[in-house]
């Protein structure tokens, strides 16, 4: 069953916490991965791959650069999940 927006944000928060050690409560829709959450470009790749597995979605390299905020990623996953 497709995940809801809240489930996706919660899932991303867990992933970002595990990969970059950011507190889950800091991961909010309006937060920028790089500027607010200190997720660098390589960690972002790890976040994307973990999100692909968790939400059964494909996020090609060309699309990764457009996912600036948690909201961008959430919207992308909502629209592309299987």
């Amino acid at each position: 069953m497709a995940a809801t927006e809240k489930e996706i944000v919660d899932g991303l928060a867990e992933i970002v916490n595990e990969i970059a050690g950011i507190p889950v409560e800091d991961v909010q829709l309006d937060k920028s991965f790089t500027d607010d959450l200190d997720v660098d470009s390589l960690s972002m790749v790890e976040v994307v791959v973990a999100a692909e597995e968790r939400f059964d979605v494909k996020i090609p390299d060309d699309d990764v650069k457009n996912l600036k905020t948690v909201g961008d990623a959430t919207k992308y996953i909502l629209e592309h999940q299987a």
């Binding site: 660098d40 470009s41 390589l42 972002m44 790749v45 790890e46 994307v48 791959v49 390299d61 990764v64 650069k65």
Partner: protein
């Protein structure tokens, strides 16, 4: 039809000796920072690299190879005359003909071995090792010398803040010879030419033809960082697992993991993805050597053995991956 006699070689092959050469000049991040807007902290956090070696004009591809090759031959306990083949993997020898392998063989005093260069980027060591194993087991050479050598400082854009700090110079070599039991597993290797644009030389040498408009900058190696990282970590972890499966062992059986020393972040993430047990020693030579492409695996192997972090007889998984894209992974018994 005449009957052709079958070739006869050793039952099995193994790495008998290893040798490395690191250029005298050690280049810390401070020197890199003279030409890019970055910081030591940023470079270390993105790559794990603190220093690298850059070759002097005298430390040529051939000269570094002769040093590393000579050490590997001595370590194997054989003489140069016993070498039947010299395989050199490099992308930074700027004279394509003749192959630099012939000059290296001659300077080593190896007599008249088969000698040739291969181009397989950062997977070059694994490609060469696979060829050498085949030669030893089919009898084309009793002993084969495999050298990975690079002067990547010659192909580095020192003004590109994404790559200026990555590359280093050096040579690593192994001697492959006969063995009584299997000591080099099946190689899992391949290429993905559809991703050839992700790591490449910026300009073709064709651009420098007489009468043409030469590009303002000398060619350099450039890469799409995120795409390469993703492929290197997640696709190569699958290849590494396939190499373990092909050798009939599991990660628990490993003593040592020697991935191509591209970037500490790739190494760390691979270790995590592969779920390597705590007891496996992981090569992290990139910190003080940078990325030396084809030379990185034998250089890291030599250092682990020299420092005692690994020992002769240990079981090691080696995996190279890079421009092509190409890759090669296999399990070996350390010399």
């Amino acid at each position: 039809m005449a009957k052709i006699k079958p070739s006869q070689g050793a039952a099995y092959a193994r790495i008998l000796g290893v040798g490395g050469y690191r250029p005298t000049r050690v280049v810390p991040n401070e020197v890199i920072l003279e030409k890019i807007d970055s910081s030591d902290e940023w470079i270390r956090s993105r790559s794990g690299i603190a220093t690298r070696h850059w070759a002097s004009p005298e430390e040529t591809v051939a000269a570094m190879s002769v040093e590393a090759g000579g050490k590997a031959i001595a370590d194997a306990g054989i003489t140069p005359e016993q070498i039947g083949a010299v395989i050199v993997s490099t992308v930074s020898h700027f004279k394509q003909t003749p192959a630099v392998a012939t000059e290296i063989a001659d300077k080593l005093g190896a007599g008249k071995p088969a000698a040739f260069d291969i181009s397989a980027g950062c997977a070059g060591f694994g490609y060469g090792l696979t060829l050498a194993k085949g030669m030893v087991t089919d009898g084309s050479a009793e002993y084969a010398l495999v050298i990975g050598v690079e002067r990547l400082s010659d192909l580095t854009d020192l003004e590109d803040r994404a790559t200026a700090f990555l590359f280093g110079d050096g040579a690593g070599a192994v001697v492959v010879g006969p063995a009584k039991e299997p000591a080099i597993g099946p190689t899992v290797w391949g290429s993905e030419g559809d991703k050839s644009e992700t790591i490449k030389q910026t300009e073709s040498w064709e651009a420098y033809r007489e009468g043409g408009v030469a590009p303002a900058k000398f060619p350099a190696i450039t890469q799409e960082g995120q795409a390469v990282f993703r492929w290197a970590v997640f696709e190569m972890a699958k290849v590494a697992q396939q190499a373990l499966d092909a050798a009939g062992i599991t990660a628990d059986d490993l003593d040592v993991f020697i991935p191509h020393q591209a970037n500490m972040r790739i190494i760390d993430s691979m270790v995590k993805t592969l779920k390597l047990p705590e007891h496996v020693t992981v090569a992290r030579d990139v910190e003080t050597t940078g990325n030396t492409s084809a030379a990185s695996i034998p250089l890291a192997m030599e250092r682990l053995l020299a420092t005692g972090e690994a020992k002769s007889g240990d079981t090691a998984l080696v995996i190279g991956f890079g421009a092509g894209l190409v890759y090669a992974a296999t399990v070996v018994t350390l010399p």
